[in-house]
Symmetry: C2
Subunit: 251 residues, 2 copies
Amino acid sequence: MQRYFLQEPYEAKAVFAVSGEPFHHMIRVMRMTPGAKVGLVFEDHLAIIAKIKEADEETVYLEEVEKEQQDKELPLQVTIASGYPKGDKLDLIVQKGTELGAAAFIGFPAQTSVVKWDQKKLQKKQQRLQKIAQEAAEQSQRQIAPAITLLDNAKAFWQSLSQYDAVLVAYEESAKQGEAAMLLQVITALPVGSKVLAIFGPEGGLTPSEIEEAQQNNAKLCGLGPRILRTETAPFYFLSAVSVLTELKRM
Amino acid sequence: MQRYFLQEPYEAKAVFAVSGEPFHHMIRVMRMTPGAKVGLVFEDHLAIIAKIKEADEETVYLEEVEKEQQDKELPLQVTIASGYPKGDKLDLIVQKGTELGAAAFIGFPAQTSVVKWDQKKLQKKQQRLQKIAQEAAEQSQRQIAPAITLLDNAKAFWQSLSQYDAVLVAYEESAKQGEAAMLLQVITALPVGSKVLAIFGPEGGLTPSEIEEAQQNNAKLCGLGPRILRTETAPFYFLSAVSVLTELKRM
């Protein structure tokens, strides 16, 4: 079922009037007609199944069929922080990471990041990634679209670590040294709703001084299995692991 | 450390003479000089760390430093079978799936596959994917490069299911129905070395008759968490889950 994120909080109504892009997509692109059902997700993350009653030139009118029952969000709020990688790898990280349940994404200039983006470029990039996140959230039937924050200042990033209940750094050397249990230990010990930050270096990895900075801010180093994952693949492993450890086991 | 797959079984030698593509990459592309260390992986999956002694116009000569100790392969041999998806999504599945530890990949024409590839096209595609798998295996420091098999016949595929110790089908409806434990149950019950086949539909999913065909061949349906994953994302979740359940827990 097609799914649309609306920019308003949920409020019980006899009829929901929807215009703008969701209207355009339902009526012009998908050519939906009265009786068709869609998912509507409100700003406060409540989701309903709604049925189209009618449409005019710029608005489609729907009625609520039922509230969505199943919780589609990871039990932990995982923010993926990536040291800026090359090319359009952030696009892939955001698209697949959204499908896999990330709550938010942060980009930051790591010491080995090759790309240097100015404010204007970052703003454009942020808008593009926010759109990718929204589309992926709709497609994967989520209740929130992850927020995208692109920083131009590494210091601000390292100082933000205290906001989280747990901070993990994906560290290749941990895997090489045979460390394999930290991820498991940290994730399974956190109560539902905890905020987790997972930090990934760019292609060249994080430098010893960045690792030290992270550790001074209570980050723990963790391996992601014995194979060396590319910078864009490691977040997929991390998010899947959180799902396996929190969602597959609770049922 | 750069890693090279050689087309010969391991045999203890005072000097390993390497020519062809690995020679070219070491000496011409990476401009390595005597003393540089590389990983050499032999046909029988044994891996050594070797040091360059010297090179001439077409051969580089190396000596063994030590055998590689750590096992980089998943404890289960996982084959990823994808109903042909659109565009170049198979490239992404093979590249990331190799990093995440897949033992082999199979493509097959599913009923909702949009692309129709003839033998000639399949052969070209197979060569391209084999190269992607080899590069990803080198990059992720694995001991094998996964084999790629592209079938032009769905029947042959369904008949091959009996070769495996366990067959799982990623099935969106399982997730919708709240099934969440099958993957966990099957994976954790298998002894080390078991052969697992994981089947993924194309964008349009598997049809009821394909699901029935799979079930008649002892396949079990499993959900991959409550979010709906794209056809190319689902294998990443599956492989990460196998790693979490077999590698992170054993140490």
